[in-house]
Amino acid sequence: MAGFVDRLLRDGNAPLLEQTLRFTAARHRLIAENIVNVDTPGYRQKDLSPAKFHALLRDRVEARRAGNKSAAGASEFDDLRAEIESPRRGILFHDGNNRSMEQLMADQAKNAMMHNMAVELLRKQFASLEAALRERL
């Protein structure tokens, strides 16, 4: 019984969206640390690349479609890890900090939108399943 429900939740888009939420939360933490340390001398900005995350996700989707069934219960998306990198963009100021407030604000806004969008889509997935199960609107 539990296996059937597991499969139901695993085969759709819910795992992708869950990983997206994990990513946006982790990225927000890094951006927050960057904003807080905007005047700290010698501090280097940290970031997670959304492009690399999307590429990783695409690979896992392909693997799932190709039928590489992992062990019972495990999802192909569970062990997704993105690497924290130090982007080399921006001016290096005299105090050794390569801050850019404008870039941080823009990244923060985009990340928050990605997060909210993933939450709404995930909610819709669960709501559709529930409607079907209830056999009622």
Partner: protein, 99 residues
């Protein structure tokens, strides 16, 4: 008189679920319409699922397109559910007709 009634009515054979229940002329049967509707709903749901997947993996930027596709599939699915509920109610009613 009873024979007359039997001869005048031309009710078709009662088939499985969705079989002809009216003295309908030749044309699309209710079963075919229902089957097409189900296929349409399934297609819309697959489109929506693919659209969400593309958005989540970064293949597309078109948020409005994805939301529209999701809304369409959701609406179609709910319509199908409503039709099913009506059919079930109709079936219950007919079943309870005492002969």
């Amino acid at each position: 008189m009873i024979d007359g009634v039997n001869n005048n009515l031309s009710v078709g054979p009662v088939g499985g679920a969705g079989g002809r229940v009216t003295a309908a002329p030749a044309g699309a049967s209710f079963a075919d319409t229902l089957k097409n509707s189900i296929q349409e709903v399934s297609r819309l749901q697959q489109d929506a699922s693919q659209a969400v997947q593309d958005l989540a993996t970064g293949k597309t930027d078109d948020v409005t397109g994805v939301m529209t596709a999701m809304e369409k599939s959701d609406l179609a699915f709910k319509t199908l559910l409503a039709i099913r509920a009506k059919l079930m109610d109709a079936y219950e009613e007919i079943k309870n007709i005492s002969v």
